[in-house]
Every structure is written in structure tokens, then in C-alpha cells.
């Protein structure tokens, strides 16, 4: 007897255990220096690192360099990773530290060279319109005026949508420090934007475009 074909939708579910096994195999491969593991790790996590770096730094080329540095450091120290299932956060914490160092270097370099920090930024934003690009460029100029820690906290919170706890863990600081930095950054950015009449018009334009 032909049975009526049921219309049950199928979906591929990857169990938590399977994910852990994959990460475990990946970490074992990384520790052994196997090429496939390095390639797989790169393709899996490099976009995440690159985008986070670019959001925080406002520079595509600098983000690529950061990405290289993060994976180079991570591969050298992967033996210290005791929980393979935390590979993603492990890489992310590397990325946060490297980005923070980059922000500090940029601050020092700008101070030593008496150069405007925004001149060091190269923006290759996806936003098609000139207004949005100009707005982002102006926004990053303001971000450059923040301290490296305040800027990183703000970027991780607002652009990476990380929780306070995650930021505190990634930056190895207390949650209260994260909150203080966040409040400080928001207050200062708001003040600077309030003092800049060009922002209001650009934001209106942005709303219309979007």
C-alpha cells in the first residue's frame, strides 16, 4: 500500500556534541600544524576578526594586518587552549587585544607625528552614497578622539553588539570599568556631535537614504 507522503519538513541539525568534536579536531590539527586545520580555522574565523577590526579601527587595510597578526599569534599559542569548544572566543580575545594595541599605537603615532588621527584612516565602506561615507568618516574622526579603551568598548558594544560581560572578559577588565568607559564614550561623542551642526543634517540625509 502506497503510503501518503508526509509533508514533514527536514532540516539538518548539528548537535552541540558534533560542534565540539569539530572544534576539538580543529584544535588538534592546529596544534599539529596541519595545513587543513589552519585553512579551516582561517576561513571560519577570519571574516569575524576582520570585520570586528575594521569596525573598531575604521580601516580595511589595517584590519587585514590585524587579521594576520591575530592568527599568527593564535597559531603560535594554540597549545595553551585547554577547551577546544572555546576556540571562537579564544580567537576573539586575541583579536580584541591586538586591536587595542593597534589603537594605542595609532594614538602614540598621531601624538608623536602631530598628525591628525583621522588622516590615518582609510574607509572602504559598503555604503554607496557619498553622504553616508562622509558621515562615517566624520564619525570615525570623533572616535579617534576617544581613548583607545573607550573607543574599543564603544565599538564592541554598539557595533559588535557584545554584552558588557563579554566585553569585560574579552578585554580583561571589570564590568564596571566597561560601563564607565561606555558612559564616558557616549557622553563625549554626544557632546562632540552636538557641537558639530553638520551632523544633524547628515543624519537626516542618512535616514532618507536608508
Amino acid at each position: 500500500m502506497p503510503s501518503s507522503r508526509s509533508r514533514v519538513s527536514l532540516s539538518l541539525v548539528v548537535s552541540q556534541g558534533r560542534q565540539e568534536t569539530c572544534n576539538a579536531e580543529l584544535v588538534r590539527g592546529l596544534i599539529s600544524g596541519e595545513g587543513w586545520a589552519i585553512g579551516e580555522t582561517w576561513h571560519r574565523f577570519a571574516p569575524m576578526v576582520s570585520m570586528m577590526a575594521e569596525r573598531c579601527l575604521g580601516s580595511r587595510s589595517e584590519a587585514e594586518d590585524i587579521c594576520q597578526e591575530v592568527f599568527y599569534r593564535m597559531l603560535r599559542r594554540v597549545k595553551s587552549l585547554r577547551e577546544p569548544d572555546r576556540l571562537r572566543s579564544y580567537i576573539y580575545s586575541f583579536a580584541v587585544r591586538v586591536v587595542r594595541n593597534a589603537l594605542r599605537r595609532r594614538k602614540v603615532r598621531a601624538w608623536l607625528s602631530f598628525d591628525e588621527p583621522e588622516n590615518l584612516v582609510d574607509l572602504t565602506w559598503e555604503a554607496p552614497d557619498m553622504e553616508s561615507r562622509d558621515l562615517l568618516r566624520r564619525f570615525h574622526r570623533l572616535l579617534d578622539r576617544l581613548t583607545p579603551r573607550d573607543r574599543l568598548v564603544f565599538s564592541l558594544r554598539r557595533m559588535e553588539s557584545m554584552t558588557v560581560e563579554e566585553i569585560a572578559r574579552a578585554m580583561d577588565i571589570s564590568e564596571s570599568t566597561v560601563k564607565r568607559s561606555m558612559a564616558h564614550a557616549t557622553e563625549r561623542l554626544s557632546t562632540w556631535m552636538d557641537d558639530d551642526p553638520g551632523f544633524s543634517g547628515l543624519v537626516e540625509t542618512l535616514r532618507e537614504v536608508r
Binding site: 582561517w42 559598503e126 554598539r158
Partner: protein
């Protein structure tokens, strides 16, 4: 200024900008990812090579540093532990530290750091101790000359009868006659402290002072000498009794010794060519004065005019002052001008010693020792000549060549100064 209702709220504006910043970032393309991965591979290879190179150089650097530190430590340890090296000429040290004169020319102890002890002929003394900090020597009877190289790290003590002379850097002559219980010290340079049975505690003497203590008569006398006086006194210092009684203005032991001006005694002119008194000056440790005389008169003129004894004294003064070229010239002049004199024979041995101290010409000493041993197989320097020949042969030709000399040395001088070295040489090889 108030914010109008048309103006964007700063928090909304920030949110909008943050969203724009988040959404505006493009994801890496497949090509960009591949290019990045290749770059990562390249970096890992070069980084690994660099790390290996760095590690290799770090290991090499660490090894070099460790070796250097080890060597420095070893050297410091060896220097700190090792006692001062010295050479003895004209005699040897026997059991108990007694200094036994080989001939009748006195003995000299030459320390590596430049200090020199010279025992005049017939003087009996003991080398009590030699360590890294200095030495302690005793004069049982007779007269000895001390030229101590100044150093804050070293201490020298001279026991002369019941007196103890604490020395830093100085030049002085000390004598002790046990039969008459007479102690004498003539200080040429520096200062010394004399401890012993004198009133008023320790005596500190300075350059130019002359101390005479006669225990039998309970007399202590300190006199001041001008350089001229010192020269004159040096000439007469060989015989203690030659000090005129008028100069021995005695003072009771209970009274502190008071420096007194000294009137020169009648002595021949010092710088007369015919009356150089270099042997006496040498005996009084006045090597500088001998060399000053030579520099004033001229080396060639002196070598052609000086007597056999003066040439020999000059050679020794030059040796003690490390002027080896002048010493060599004086000894060669001794050989040339007085070939049949007893000093000419001694000059052969000393020429060997001078060649050894000239540096880099060690092997040139051997013919001189050979000639001396051939002409004076039982001479006062025979044991030393053979011993030095053994040492030099070992240094220049190796232990195998020196073995035969060591055997000969032990056969001829089984209790000689170099017997221990000879036995070691034979035992090892």
C-alpha cells in the same frame, strides 16, 4: 541652547551612526580570504625561520655569556684563592720556611706583583707565609731590604727579632742582630708601623726616618735623614757599628723617641766613578740611586768604566727594577771585561734569568744555563740553573724533553727547590 524637536537626539544619532558603521563593513570575499591565508602561510614560514634564527642566536649568545661568566668567575676565584707567586734567586726555601742561601751573594725573593725582598749575604730568615694578600717574613739575624709595591689589597709583615713591621707600599732596610739585640730600620719611601718592645706603643715611621733600637741598652733612637744623609748612611749602613756614637743620641725607653736632625758623617763622595758603592747601595735597597747614577753618567760610559762588583750590582739593581735590557747589558759587560772574575760566572746564570724575564725569548735562556753548568757544575747557582733549564725546556719543548733533565736534577739535587716539580714531571709522564 535648547534642542529643537527636529534635531536628532544624540543617542539616536549615535545609534544610527553605530549601525551604519556596523552594517557598512563588507565581508571578506573568497579571494581576499585566500590571499590572506597565503600571506599567513608565508608569514608563518618566515616567522618560523626568524624564530629559529633568533632562538639559535639566543642559544649561542647565552652560551657565550655563560662561558664568559664562568671564565670570569673561575679567574676571580683562582685569583682570590691563589697565593702570590714568587721566585727565589741565590737560595731556596727549606723545611720550616727557612731561607737557605745557595752561595755567598745573598738571596732575592721576587714576587709577581713587583715586590722584592733581598737578604744580604749571611742573613738568616724565614718565609713564614705567602698568601693572596701578601707575605710574612722573619729576619732571624742580619739585614734585609724590602721594596713593597703599594697596594690597598695587600699586607706585608716583617718580623725582625721581637719587632713586627707592618708594611703597605714602601722601601726600607731592616736588620736585627740577636747577639747585640740591636734592631735597625731605615725607611726610604712610604711609611711603616713598628710594633715591639719600644715605649709609647707602636711607632709610625715616615720616609727618611731611621730607627735604631738597642734593647740591651734600652735605647730607642729615631733620626731624620735628608736624601744626602740617606745616601751617606746607606754607604755606611752595611756595618751597624759604623754609625757614629755621637749620632746615637740615646733616649731612655721610657721616653718617647724624638726625631733628631742628623749631621752627615765623613764619607767618600757618593757619585765618584771610583767610589760608587753600588754594592752597598744595592745592599741597602737603593736601586733607584744606582740607576740614577747610570742615567746621569750614561749607560755606555758606565758599562765601560764600572768595576766588576759595580757591574754586578748594577745588573741586580736593573733586574730588581725590571729594567731587563740594562741588566742584560751589564751582565754582558761583566763577561766581556772581566771574563775570569767570579762574577763573570755568576753572570752566566743571571743572563739566563734575564732572558726568561724578557718575554717571548724563553729558549734563549737555555744556552746560558748550559754554559754555567758546564763551567761551574758545583757552583752556587748550579741547582737553580738546572732547575730553570728544566722549567724552560718543559715550557718550550714539552714535558717529554724535560723528563731527562728532571731525572738529572733529582739525581744531583734530590732536595733542591725544583725537586717537587721534577718528581711531578716524571710522575705525570
Amino acid at each position: 541652547m535648547t534642542t529643537s524637536s527636529h534635531e536628532p537626539n544624540p543617542s539616536k544619532m549615535l545609534t544610527a551612526l553605530a549601525n551604519l558603521g556596523r552594517d557598512g563593513v563588507k565581508r571578506l570575499t573568497r579571494a581576499e580570504l585566500d590571499r590572506g591565508l597565503n600571506a599567513l602561510h608565508d608569514r608563518m614560514i618566515t616567522g618560523e625561520a626568524r624564530r629559529r634564527g633568533l632562538f639559535r642566536w639566543s642559544v649561542i649568545g647565552a652560551a657565550v655569556i655563560m662561558s664568559t661568566l664562568a671564565i670570569l668567575h673561575w679567574r676571580a676565584a683562582s685569583v682570590s684563592v691563589r697565593a702570590l707567586a714568587y721566585q727565589i734567586e741565590g737560595g731556596r726555601v727549606v723545611e720550616g720556611g727557612y731561607l737557605r742561601e745557595a752561595g755567598h751573594s745573598g738571596m732575592a725573593l721576587l714576587f709577581e706583583e713587583g715586590s722584592t725582598f733581598v737578604l744580604t749575604p749571611g742573613t738568616r730568615g724565614r718565609l713564614r707565609a705567602v698568601n693572596k694578600e701578601g707575605a710574612r717574613v722573619t729576619i732571624d739575624s742580619g739585614k734585609a731590604l724590602f721594596r713593597i709595591t703599594p697596594s690597598n689589597d695587600r699586607h706585608w709583615w716583617v718580623e725582625s727579632g721581637p719587632f713586627l713591621i707592618t708594611v703597605k707600599g714602601t722601601v726600607f732596610v731592616a736588620s736585627w742582630e740577636p747577639t747585640t739585640e740591636r734592631f735597625e730600620l731605615r725607611l726610604q719611601q712610604g711609611s711603616v708601623v713598628v710594633s715591639g718592645p719600644v715605649s709609647g706603643g707602636d711607632l709610625t715611621l715616615r720616609a727618611g726616618q731611621h730607627l735604631v733600637v738597642n734593647l740591651a741598652k734600652a735605647e730607642t733612637l729615631i733620626t731624620e735623614e735628608t736624601p744626602q744623609d740617606a745616601a751617606i748612611m746607606s754607604a755606611s749602613a752595611v756595618e751597624p757599628s759604623s754609625v757614629p756614637p755621637t749620632q746615637q743620641a740615646s733616649s731612655a725607653r721610657s721616653e718617647p723617641a724624638v726625631p733628631q736632625p742628623r749631621t752627615p758623617v765623613t764619607t767618600p763622595p757618593v757619585n765618584s766613578d771610583s767610589e760608587r758603592h753600588w754594592a752597598q747601595k744595592l745592599a741597602n735597597g737603593q736601586w733607584d740611586r744606582i740607576l740614577e747614577d747610570v742615567d746621569r753618567t750614561g749607560v755606555d760610559a758606565t758599562l765601560n768604566a764600572a768595576s766588576s762588583e759595580d757591574l754586578f750590582a748594577l745588573a741586580n739593581a736593573a733586574r730588581y727594577s725590571r729594567r731587563t735590557e740594562l741588566a742584560r747589558d751589564a751582565l754582558l759587560a761583566e763577561r766581556r771585561r772581566f771574563p775570569n772574575s767570579p762574577r763573570a760566572l755568576d753572570a752566566l746564570f743571571l743572563l739566563g734569568r734575564v732572558e726568561e724575564s724578557r718575554g717571548g725569548r724563553l729558549s734563549r735562556a737555555i744556552p746560558w744555563y748550559d754554559e754555567y753548568l758546564a763551567l761551574a757544575p758545583s757552583g752556587s747557582y748550579a741547582a737553580e740553573a738546572l732547575g730553570r733549564k728544566m722549567i724552560v725546556t718543559k715550557e718550550t719543548g714539552g714535558a717529554t724533553q724535560a723528563r731527562a733533565i728532571a731525572e738529572e736534577y733529582l739525581r744531583r739535587f734530590p732536595k733542591g727547590s725544583y725537586a717537587g716539580t721534577a718528581r711531578t714531571l716524571l710522575r705525570v709522564h
